[in-house]
């Protein structure tokens, strides 16, 4: 799959992108932004946490807060196989994980193949997505890890309690509310 594109990567104008599968869609994150890809380690759920938090993971002596991308998209959070990507944010010293269905492989794309978010996107998608690459096989939505930081998601307020209507914590959370 990557044989042809890797050659292009040498030209200097190409960008290696790690492609991810979430639900039926294809997403991509620049490989240099990814610190590590963890295998199928299940995060430990945190009761009462916001819906988009998949849970916590032990990572290098720290407790890594892991965001569930499925929940951000409004899908059921847990669906069989999954994979956790680890990101570093050196400025804010915030390290976090992102849970996706799986990693598809590295694709090199031309920098200029990126198309900015179109105008018609809803607020949540506008917040999450960072444009899309037009691949021959279809669109690969580009993600910016900085936009997926738990603290930023919390600030945006777009993914708060109302997104709880999708997940399996729904009933319990409603029972919990005062």
């Amino acid at each position: 799959m990557r044989s042809t594109e890797v050659k292009e990567a040498d030209t200097g104008d190409a960008l290696p992108i790690c492609s991810l599968r979430v639900g039926t869609g294809l997403y991509g994150i620049e490989t240099r932004q990814i610190r590590e890809v963890l295998g199928t380690t299940a995060p430990r759920r945190v009761p009462l946490a916001p819906q988009y938090i998949a849970g916590v993971l032990p990572y290098r002596g720290e407790v890594l807060t892991t965001v569930c991308f499925r929940a951000l998209l409004g899908l059921e959070c847990w669906a069989g196989s999954h994979c956790v990507l680890v990101f570093d944010d050196e400025e804010n010293e915030e390290r976090f994980g992102l849970m996706v269905d799986g990693v598809a492989g590295v694709i090199a794309v031309q920098r200029n193949a990126l198309e900015a978010n179109p105008g018609g996107l809803d607020a949540r998608s506008q917040e999450l997505f960072d444009g899309a690459y037009k691949l021959p096989s279809g669109l690969m939505v580009r993600l910016d890890p900085q936009r997926l930081r738990p603290s930023r998601l919390a600030e945006s307020g777009l993914f708060g309690s109302e997104s709880a209507s999708h997940g399996r914590l729904k009933q319990e959370r409603q029972g919990e509310k005062k």
Partner: protein, 775 residues
């Protein structure tokens, strides 16, 4: 090009960072020196030290391009220069001016730290301050030159006359001449602000001895080597147990050395208090001296920050409520100057910090009257309370005995906040008071926060850690009783625990966890917990083994939930969330039961007996086989537990003789051994006979008490050879009867026992170190 540009910028940033840390340290030293200078105006060393601090700041700011800071530092330097050259005399006003300079410098440093630039304040505070500093300098010089001039007169009026009440800019007496215009331009709240805002750069940086770092690096090297070997080995391999053992010991050592590196002397915390007390005393019209003891006592950095505010509260209280006004002190025959003592020491795995004042003390009668008035206790309950129990009422929220609300303290918040904060880090607070002679506030905090003993509980298939310090007891409710055990009042579920009703909180329901079966149809456990006055039963499915857990912080979004104080990795590698008991109770709607009185007081009462035991405990031992010259009872002797550092079993072969005296190499020092009962000789004989028939070597060991003997110039460590240690028990010193004997006697375990000579005066004092092991 871009690559080259970057390091330059980073370099400047690093320099700035370093400069900030250094300057703040310098300012802190300056603060101490300034308050000392007021007491010892002729100390040139102090002036030189202050001068150096300001000079360093000025020098570096010019280099880094902070013009505003440089200007101010320059003004300060020139004033200090005059002081150093003795063109100026130390006066209260001068000290106040210098303290303002310090606040000004600190303010700019904080701005730099926050924003990266020194900022331009709209109100031109700097020039007002600089003008004032210049005026101080010029006036001082003029006064020196022409002592009889008008200037001198006004200077005198300002200096000694104002000494008790000025010093604090905002509180300056109105008669103090024509600088009012200049002064009122200064921010009135400056000293207060400077104190409240802790220098954050210093909170983040830590100075560590290179030796400690080297040791850590060596240990890490060891760890890597062990790991390599383990990776190459298999669990079945012959050397695997040995590797596992080595890993264990390296880990333990590494942990210890890291903990050691995090330890900071408590003195670091004490530094700001001379200034605080000085300002407060001036505001409240008191004369107060502050004294320190045990500044070198080490405490974990994070805990140091945690007790900073409670300690400030306590000192404010001591000055404002504790120490009486000078007039009152004279009337009661006390020295005019009150003393606030801050004392820190280690005691059985925790650090104790005391704030002791020699003020009026607390009237239990007034406390009780107030408590009844506020409905905290009923008159009947008050009647039955011991003095100690009554004192603990002060910690109940909303309690204040101050006759008058002052702006320093006495707003009804204070001591309850102190208690809450200290309890938050797993510590405790207690109060002792003697009417007329003073009050002692004692805080006890654990040595470290990072590792806490906890009980792992299971609920709905998930593990949670429950800190032991909030756990009171555990109740098992078997399946057939489950239905009847839970009783209801309205929506609240209760459990009848002995005589009282305990509100129940189902952990799984509270956290919204899925549970397979109805909780009441199977057996369950009730963990009776208590924290911040909330006492309730937490219902869980199962209990796991208690574990020493390593606390890991959660990210901010998860901390916000409030119920969890952290997470930890359990022995089996899974993560468990640590429950914040107080927050769990609050979330479940359990109200603090402080109103009850009995619940609040139950715990301190237990603590009290434990504490008294520790402080008055005696180690009882036999000195020798024969009735020794000083032993009253077959060689049975006692020594205050506080004097004993350790009890060691030493192989006889390790004891050496120098000049006919027995010595022991102990932790890198040569310890003289005292052997009053000739135990060593008896042991040597026993060994000789034993080794003749038996091949066993090193079999004979001598029991040595490593103790600190108080001497004229501090304590000296000696080893006391004893035949065997009998017991540790509470004891009471008997009044010395000079006619009967020179020996100091004590009543221990209902028997009169002689105290080892030279140790009697130590009885009853807190022990200086942890008793590690009782052989």
């Amino acid at each position: 090009m871009v690559v080259r540009q970057r390091p330059d910028k980073e370099e400047v940033e690093d320099l700035t960072k370093e400069f900030l840390a250094e300057s703040q340290e310098g300012l802190e030293r300056m603060e101490i020196c300034l308050t000392q200078l007021e007491k010892k105006p002729d100390d040139e060393e102090l002036v030189a030290e202050i001068f150096r601090a300001v000079h360093t700041i000025k020098g570096t700011t010019g280099f880094l391009g902070f013009g505003r800071l440089e200007k101010l530092a320059h003004a300060g330097e020139s004033l200090l220069g005059a002081l150093r050259d003795r063109r100026l005399a130390v006066s209260t006003e001068l000290i106040s001016g210098l303290l303002e300079l310090m606040d000004g410098l600190r303010g700019i440093l904080q701005t730099i730290e926050a924003t990266g630039t020194e900022g331009e304040r709209t109100s031109d505070n700097d020039s007002a301050l600089i003008a004032r500093l210049m005026e101080l300098r010029d006036r001082g010089s003029a006064a020196k030159a022409a002592p009889a001039s008008q200037n001198r007169a006004s200077f005198d009026k300002l200096g000694p006359g104002a000494s008790s009440s000025s010093g604090h800019v905002a509180q300056r007496p109105p008669q103090s001449s024509g600088h009012d215009a200049v002064l009122s331009a200064l921010p009135a709240a400056a000293p207060g602000v400077a104190m409240a805002a802790a220098p954050s750069m210093q909170d983040k940086t830590l100075r560590i001895d290179v030796d400690v770092l080297n040791r850590m690096m060596n240990l890490v090297g060891d760890l890597v080597l062990t790991r390599n070997q383990i990776l190459r080995s298999t669990p079945g391999a012959e050397n695997f147990p040995e590797l596992a053992r080595r890993l264990d010991s390296v880990t333990a050592e590494l942990r210890e050395s890291v903990m050691l590196a995090r330890m900071q002397p408590v003195g670091y915390l004490f530094r700001k208090f001379p200034r605080l007390v000085r300002d407060l005393a001036a505001t409240c019209g008191r004369q107060v001296r502050i004294e320190f003891e045990g500044q070198e006592t080490g405490l974990d950095k994070s805990l140091l920050e945690a007790v900073r505010d409670p300690l400030t509260h306590a000192v404010r209280n001591a000055v404002d409520h504790g120490i009486e006004p000078p007039q009152e002190r004279i009337e009661t025959g006390k020295p005019v100057e009150g003393v606030v003592r801050m004392r820190a020491y280690h005691q059985s795995g925790s650090v104790v910090i005391e704030v002791i004042d020699d003020g009026a003390g607390i009237s239990t009668g007034r406390v009780l009257a107030k408590a009844i008035e506020h409905g905290l206790v009923t008159p009947e309950q008050a009647e039955a309370m011991t003095q100690r129990e009554a004192l603990q009422l002060i910690f109940v929220s909303g309690f204040s005995t101050a006759k008058q609300v002052t702006n320093v303290s006495g707003r009804g918040v204070g001591l309850d906040v102190v208690r809450t904060n200290v309890e938050k880090v797993g510590g405790s607070v207690e109060l002792e008071s003697q009417l007329g002679s003073g009050t002692t506030l004692r805080m006890r905090v654990p040595l470290t926060l990072a590792i806490v003993p906890a009980l792992v509980v299971r609920s709905a298939g998930e593990s949670f850690a429950l800190p032991q310090n909030s756990l009171v007891e555990l109740v098992y409710v078997p399946r057939h009783e489950a239905q009847q055990a839970v009783e209801r009042m309205g929506t609240t579920e209760l459990y009848r625990l002995r005589e009282s009703l305990l509100p129940l909180v189902w952990l799984d329901r509270l956290l919204g966890l899925e549970h397979s079966a109805d909780a009441e149809t199977h057996d369950f456990y009730i963990a009776v917990v208590e924290s911040e006055g909330r006492r309730f039963g937490l219902v869980v499915d199962d209990l796991k083994a208690p574990e020493e857990i390593v606390v890991k912080p959660l990210s901010a979004e998860l901390r916000e939930i409030g119920v969890f104080s952290g997470a930890t990795v359990l022995g089996n590698g899974t993560l468990a969330l640590i429950l914040d008991v107080a927050a769990t109770g609050a979330r479940a709607g359990v109200r603090p039961v402080a109103e009850d009185g009995t619940v609040v007081n139950a715990k301190p009462a237990v603590d009290e007996t434990a504490r008294i035991d520790l402080e008055n405990s005696m180690v009882i031992y036999e000195t020798g086989e024969h009735k020794s010259s000083q032993g009253g009872d077959g060689g049975r002797m006692a020594m205050p537990l506080s004097a004993v550092e350790r009890i060691e079993s030493v192989p006889l072969s390790e004891i050496e003789y120098a000049g006919g005296r027995a010595v022991l190499q102990y932790r890198g020092e040569l310890l003289p051994l005292e052997d009053d009962g000739n135990v060593l000789r008896a042991l040597a004989e026993a060994e000789a006979t034993a080794s003749a028939g038996d091949a066993r070597k090193d079999g004979v060991t001598a029991t040595v008490l490593i103790c600190l003997r108080p001497e004229a110039n501090g304590a000296r460590r000696v080893g006391m050879v004893v035949r065997r240690v009998l017991d540790v028990s509470a004891g009471r010193l008997l009044a010395a009867d000079a006619a009967a004997s020179e020996e100091q006697l004590a009543m221990v375990k209902n028997r009169v026992t002689a105290i080892h000579r030279g140790f009697a005066q130590q009885a009853g004092l807190p022990q200086p170190s942890i008793l590690k092991e009782v052989a």
